[in-house]
Assembly symmetry: C2
Homo-oligomer: 473 residues x 2
């Protein structure tokens, strides 16, 4: 077990100085919207990752694209990093000021700008959260499906190429962002697309920005697709004698092309934690949490077929959640799995894995990793967007015990190596951040990472856009 050292502690990474003249200029331009209070800086200098770093030198609360452009112009002039901040739910250290600099809080840019129900699109400011968005479009009969566990901002979800439980049917941010407004490293404002559903007009700058983790530009406006609320929805829980049985059922569902809207694996550990946290009494066995969208007969057909497939693998206790309230309770429990787990070991930090493999490799990838995790003695939970081949171990480590971190990182390392051997990826939806830089090189090779570096250097020659994330220059 030889985990690599946390990348942000490598000696070549040094915070840059923030010149007093820059701070004066920011204060002059933004007055009380530029904060240097320690508590504010600390709040903006961490995320849900297990990493720690000195906080940013200041936090500026942006209220407009012009604000962001002005911050970037000043940062460029003084050669100081900027880090866009949404609500702080990154799991990979994206928000840490490892090279110093200014945090731009995007939270006040939280207006829904234009709901085009007639075109199934909506344009929002980047600080709008996914729940806020769905609340805003509720009366139109449409919804936005992408749902990472946290109530993240649309800007943050773009930046990390987020997905969640509905991705198996509706795709990820990659498939659902139509256009962005972006402020570049020099403070220029550009638009990357239109509201047309498809386009072959030039390089796909939208998708270059989606997943770029704040390293190529600051996203100041987001246009995404919406979907009609399905005529009928049914959710079900099915328990299985083993994780393997649940996974084999999932593989069958996908290979048969069942248009299932959600199929989530939850291991027995997670069920225990969720029961305790959300006052539920789910059977403490591995389970699939599923949802079917369509016409009433379509939903019936899908769910009958899936029950049959589950039965074939020993699934039992297919329980239905038929009312919207029951479904909300169930999915809220699923979305709270992460926080339920954190609560189960007071004071712990979570080291989260995020591998994603081709669906036929899912059982191979998961089962050996479970054996390793069980043998390690580190408490953990396992949840997965298994319909996409994506799953997360959360190792609950005591941050005061370096040996626990080391064991957890070694488990992660073994898991990623296995996923890459099986033609998968080190990150399905969380991003690379600080945590997966070495894995990225292993996965894509030096050539591809060097191409990313070349693009980064060209678009951000002073390396001020969230530097030290994804790769080191």
């Amino acid at each position: 077990m030889n985990a690599p050292p946390p990348v942000h502690l490598r000696p070549e990474i040094q915070p840059r100085k923030t010149p007093a003249a820059l701070m004066e200029a920011l204060k002059a331009r933004f007055a009380e919207r530029c904060s240097t209070a320690l508590v504010v800086r600390e709040q903006h200098g961490r995320d849900e990752s297990s990493f720690a770093s000195p906080p940013p030198a200041a936090v500026v609360f942006a209220e407009s694209t012009a604000d962001v452009a002005d911050i970037l112009k000043l940062a460029s002039q003084y050669n100081v990093p900027v880090i866009p901040f949404g609500v702080g739910t990154s799991l990979e250290g994206h928000l840490l000021a490892v090279q110093g600099g200014i945090s731009i809080d995007m939270g006040r840019m939280n207006r829904v700008l234009a709901i085009h129900a007639e075109d199934l699109t909506v344009t929002v400011q980047p600080g709008v959260t996914r729940k806020q968005l769905n609340e805003a479009v509720k009366s139109t009969g449409l919804f936005f499906p992408i749902d990472p566990g946290a109530d993240a901002t649309l800007g943050g979800m773009c930046a990390t190429r987020a997905s969640g439980t509905n991705a198996v049917r509706y795709g990820t941010m990659r498939e659902n962002v139509l256009a962005l407004e972006v402020v570049t490293a020099s403070g220029e404002v550009i638009r990357t697309g239109t509201r047309a559903k498809k386009s072959s007009a030039g390089y796909d700058l939208t998708r270059l920005m989606v997943g770029s983790e704040g390293t190529l530009g600051v996203i100041t406006e987001v246009t995404v697709k919406l979907y009609p609320l399905p005529e009928a929805v049914a959710a079900a829980v099915c328990s299985f004698p083993s994780i393997e049985a649940a996974v084999r059922t999932t593989i069958d569902i996908i290979q048969l092309g069942v248009p299932i809207a959600r199929v989530e694996l939850i291991d027995a550990n997670s069920v225990r934690m969720v029961n305790a946290h959300s006052k539920l009494s789910l059977r403490e066995e591995p389970m699939l949490l599923m949802e079917f969208h369509g016409s009433p007969t379509g939903v019936k057909e899908q769910s009958e077929l899936v029950q049959e497939l589950a039965n074939g693998h020993g699934g039992h206790a297919f329980e239905w959640a038929n009312t919207p309230e029951e479904r909300t309770r169930l999915w809220t429990a699923r979305h709270n799995a992460y926080f339920a787990a954190v609560q189960s070991r007071p004071g712990c930090r979570v080291i989260s894995t995020d591998t994603c493999v081709p669906i036929s490799r899912l059982a191979d990838c998961l089962l050996d990793s479970i054996t390793e995790a069980d043998a390690s003695g580190i408490p953990y939970f396992l949840v997965g967007h298994v319909g996409d081949g994506n799953f997360h171990f959360g190792y609950l480590i005591d941050p005061t015990k370096p040996e626990e971190r080391e064991v957890a990182e070694a488990l992660n390392h073994q898991l990623v190596s296995r996923a890459l051997r099986l033609e998968g990826t080190c990150s399905g939806e969380h991003g690379v951040g600080l945590h997966k830089m070495d894995f990225l090189v292993t996965e894509t090779g030096d050539g591809a990472v060097n191409m990313m570096r070349t693009i980064k250097r060209a678009l951000d020659p002073k390396n001020i856009m969230n530097p030290g994330k994804i790769f080191l220059l």
Copy 2:
């Protein structure tokens, strides 16, 4: 009516010289696979666009990634352009050697490398055509849905971000390419992704290459998604009293979220041409050609709903094509519309438009453009992937009459301006090529095009990758 001059005739565009030493090196490396025969060069120096340009200096028939890498290394050494060639069906002048150089014929790299039916993926060489691919995977019960009119190569379809009739349900190349192998301008071979269905691992190089029209790298391997053949398929033709009625029906279908697999508009001109070309007897009125995929009851539900919507707009004569043979005949006729039109005016060239607008704007965009086309006196046909808001006028011009080209280009200009005002794009699926450079700037603004230029300069500093396409440096 003031159409811009064809961009490849601008004085700043001059073919570069091909040094004798490069030709000797290519001959030494590729022997008879490097051709300088005029007929071969001419065949590789044109496409389905109405533009003409002197042919490339040589054509090299690549048989492996190593071949392509060697060509690129030599081209880079001698600072000479390279233009990848699939089957020559570009509509926008992508293949024209406007700055001279070497055409790389990818047609011999036509092996299907790995069918992973269990993961719904397939990996092919770039010279595989879409029909060849579907033939190769037929026995697995899967299919690849993207179908531009021509039997294009997968490499070419990646390069132009192609789509076609199934995109309304299955997405375009943007959504369906998982990973690429690419040879860069310096001759390096990189991989842009894995077979995982989703990933947040670094910049989305796959989608940067998809739609880059050969200007950033030569695609040497393509991994795409496959889909289970639907349990039930039904196709229908419905005639309408007017194009507006057909379009309003389409808008209703999309806004209601009907998961229709295909919904194609064909105007009365096209029907006449197709009838003549394909020996059919379709009613010579505007029509929608539709296809429904799903379970038998799902298909029944969808088609009943769509019939109701069509009736509401005066649609009549819903005719079903129930057998695979009838369907193939119908869709072959649709795919042949372009060639049927060419045949209808012997010796003509087609100037094809490709605007795509948000669905609610479709009627506005189409109807005024039809009035203008009718008034112009230029023969034309109109077909559209209207479920996506994308449609094509094909103006059939006599290439010996410059005034006809001028009128057609002016019509196109007015149409694109209208589409952009309606928040659409100048190109839904054909690409920018030579033809839409000015439109691209109008659509995205100087900032975005300059960002594209910056990326291009960084990845291809000698500007040897299909130079003079998308934008001028």
